[in-house]
């Protein structure tokens, strides 16, 4: 279980990394599909603004590099990594900029991935529905379920 502001990586086939009910947050999976290593981060906000040295994985600018490092530490090969993004919804239909955290999160995560040279292979982002992401380590399968929907495989 990867909760708000947490991240995890695994090389154990059969492990499932899960973030339940992502709203404006982003579930970011980073995988080396050949060796079956995967990691998942639950990113809450786009930018730490350099707030303190504390290692808070809430923020995209801290979480993304750390997640990539963890996946590499578990045996993932940096040039062969790819990423899958889920979440970043606008849950409440209002135009207040403060509530558009979802879009800003997605942009920040993509920006960090580009800096690290990790391509985005698939994304289920935006819209107005919450989502659950499951990352099946080993099989390198990722499933997503929207609120009120069925679980689907992401390619």
């Amino acid at each position: 279980m990867v909760r708000m502001g947490e991240l995890a990586a695994s090389a154990v086939a059969g492990d499932v990394l899960v973030s339940l009910g992502l709203g404006s947050c982003i579930g970011l999976a980073v995988l080396d599909r050949r060796v079956g290593v995967a990691g998942l981060a639950h990113v809450v906000l786009p930018d730490s603004g350099g707030h303190g040295p504390q290692r808070s994985y809430k923020f995209a600018d801290v979480a993304v590099p750390e997640l990539i490092d963890r996946v590499v530490a578990h045996g993932g090969r940096r040039p062969l990594l790819d990423a899958v993004l889920v979440g970043g919804a606008s849950m409440f239909a209002v135009t207040s900029a403060a509530l558009e955290v979802g879009q800003r999160n997605e942009a920040a995560v993509r920006d960090q991935l580009a800096k690290a040279g990790v391509p985005v292979r698939a994304a289920e982002t935006g819209g107005g529905r919450g989502r659950t992401i499951r990352v099946h380590v080993g099989a390198s399968r990722i499933t997503v379920r929207e609120a009120g929907g069925v679980e689907r495989e992401m390619q």
């Binding site: 239909a93 209002v94 919450g130």
Partner: protein, 194 residues
């Protein structure tokens, strides 16, 4: 992790108690029925734990959120289970899950939120104003984390003041949460001289 003393938590609970008491009176006059309130909980939790404290992350829920502006930034969040939403709408003579149903729930949020904030403002001497409500029906965790994300800022700690209100003569209840900005809790406590 920031720790609050028992005295401070008691004071926060008391604020929530008076606030939700006022909100329940408002709900009661809207529905024409009496409304019971439970003793509120004050949770001070790492953000990661806060979502699970509210309920099953993947359960369906309708959330009505109001922003709070003025001397303290915060969000007011009302949570209805599908059956709560259906019964609450039935009491108001509208159908849940429709546009008019959502708008009825938002009106409940509006009226309860405004009276809660008025009571909170009177007790603390703060000027607090609600912003217009918005509603979403979705996974509980998606609703709660979106509100927490907006209020979290740099802090990793969430304060939830949680009151349950139950409508007499029906099974309808609503969960009423106040989620202050990271610095808002200290501000509340400072106003109370704690």
């Amino acid at each position: 992790m920031t720790q609050y003393t028992d005295l401070q938590l008691d004071a926060l609970r008391e604020l929530a108690n008076v606030g939700s008491g006022t909100a329940s009176t408002a709900l009661s006059s809207m529905l024409g029925r009496s409304v019971d309130i439970s003793v509120p909980h004050a949770y001070v939790l790492p953000m990661a734990d806060a979502v699970a404290e509210v309920g099953d992350p993947e359960a369906d829920a309708t959330g009505v959120v109001l922003g709070v502006v003025g001397d303290m930034g915060a969000s007011v969040l009302l949570l209805f289970s599908p059956s709560d939403a259906a019964q609450m709408c039935a009491l108001l003579g509208v159908e849940a899950g429709t546009e008019i149903g959502d708008s009825a729930l938002m009106e409940i949020g509006n009226i309860m939120g405004a009276s809660y904030l008025t009571a909170l403002g009177m007790m603390t001497g703060m000027a607090l104003e609600p912003t217009p409500p918005a509603a979403a029906t979705d996974m509980l965790a998606a609703i709660v984390e979106t509100v927490l994300a907006e209020r979290a800022g740099a802090g990793d700690i969430a304060l939830l003041l949680d009151s349950q209100l139950a409508v007499e003569g029906s099974d309808a209840s609503v969960s009423f949460l106040l989620v202050p900005d990271a610095g808002g809790v200290d501000q509340l406590l400072a106003r109370l001289g704690l």
